[in-house]
Amino acid sequence: MFRIAKPFYFRTISSLHCGSGNDLGMVDLPIQREKHTSFPKVESSSLKGAIREAFENKLEQQKVEFLEIISKNDSSKIGFENINDKKRLKLSFDYSIQLLFGYDEDNLDELIKKEFEEDSEFSGALAFSDARILFFPVRSAKGIFAWITCPYVLNRYVEDLKLCYKDFRLNIPSVDIGQCITYANNKISINNTSVVLEEYRFNEQQNLNIDPILSKFREMNELKERVVVLNDDDFRDFVNQFTEIITRTKIDNLTGTVAQGALFNEEYLPPETIMYFLVFSTPIFQKEEKKKGIFNQNGKKEEELVMEFFVKNLPEVMQLGGNATIGKGIIKINEINQNNDKGGK
């Protein structure tokens, strides 16, 4: 069972399409959604795969530098003796990826394959939750856009964070349909009485204070200027009706006009969407101590070393979801910081 849980969030830099295959509805290629709420989500397998790829594709230099520090203390943990230093450290890093994310022999170095020859049936020491929506960007008549959320989403977020921080509590105010709650001195209110999102007006009920949530984000000040808490049903309508729909087609090279039958449309989460997910770590799943590589250190818990390896090597910017070749799915990941009252790492 998992010993450590840590929360992370990402903000989409470009539009994000984590698809759920084909659909019979209006959109040919819809995004993944939760069955019971219809809110957008990112399946944990999509997330895990993208993060694993980001780890595998790190520059050799970065892999080597990270392990040089560890090998100074005890180079016997690194394994792969009789190989020159740099290659040895890179192999050890890639070996660690197998222990953390599970065994995958695609494009794997022969030397690592040999290590797992007798036993490649084991679980990875990391686990990921689905990414859930927290703030969804919507066009605003004033201040360009607003980040909408709702009591259900905020309460769920607080519950999820309790897995990481035991005494995290917050009373979320309730909101009536057609009303909203915002921070004082924001960028989006019109005459301090209402907010206009897309073509709908919401009257402001009271001043918002969810500082304990926002202070854990790097964008704390930005969020305060734009966050709007809507009623649950209003929020649901927005995340269903105001995602990005992009129409695509193909031009026939011979005629220079649209090719027959190549017209389709796909759904995206817009840039500036903010979602969060949890990462869990366990001790390494290996029978023999010597197979645990750098995670076998005296006096340190394996699950802590696993989490440390993950956090220190997690790239800040990476690609998630489909259509990477047309620039989609660039996201910026950060930890949700427990002791962060100023915003920032």
């Binding site: 019979l24 209006m26 057609g178 073509e199 007006r201 049903d233 309508d237 269903n240 009706q241 729909i245």
Partner: protein, 129 residues
């Protein structure tokens, strides 16, 4: 399970009959039905209805009027509009500017859901791309 028909089943039958009756208008009907959901999603229901209204007496008016009539009849069937005050699609175009945001979004969802069936049947009943 009960023998009550689901809303979706009733909607399917309704949309099928609408598409079958409209298929005599010509094969262009299909492309108009397919275009409308996107118009609604990108511009909003009010703007899309106003656009359909603006084409009323033009060449392509026969397609838009047929789709508009079907939308009106379906909303009326579901008791989502007051048929004493709003007696036709043309009156519905004006009436939706008078309703609350919540009602407006509810009707938008319903129209989109109805059109997704209408689109499917038009696709199946009418040949061509």
């Amino acid at each position: 399970m009960s023998f009550l028909r689901t809303t979706d089943q009733i909607k399917i039958e309704f949309a099928f009959n609408c598409a079958r009756n409209a298929s005599v208008l010509g094969k262009e009907y299909k492309s108009y039905v397919k275009k409308l959901p996107m118009l609604i999603k990108t511009n909003g229901l009010g703007a899309a209805f106003a656009f359909m209204y603006s084409k009323r007496s033009k060449e392509e008016g026969k397609f838009w009027n047929s789709i508009g009539r079907d939308i009106y009849n379906w909303l009326n069937y579901r008791n989502m509009i007051n048929s004493d005050k709003v007696r036709s699609f043309d009156e519905l175009v004006f009436a939706i500017s008078q309703i609350s945001s919540v009602e407006y979004r509810k009707i938008t969802s319903e129209v989109l859901s109805f059109l997704s069936w209408l689109k499917r049947f038009a696709d199946g009943l009418i040949e061509g791309d």
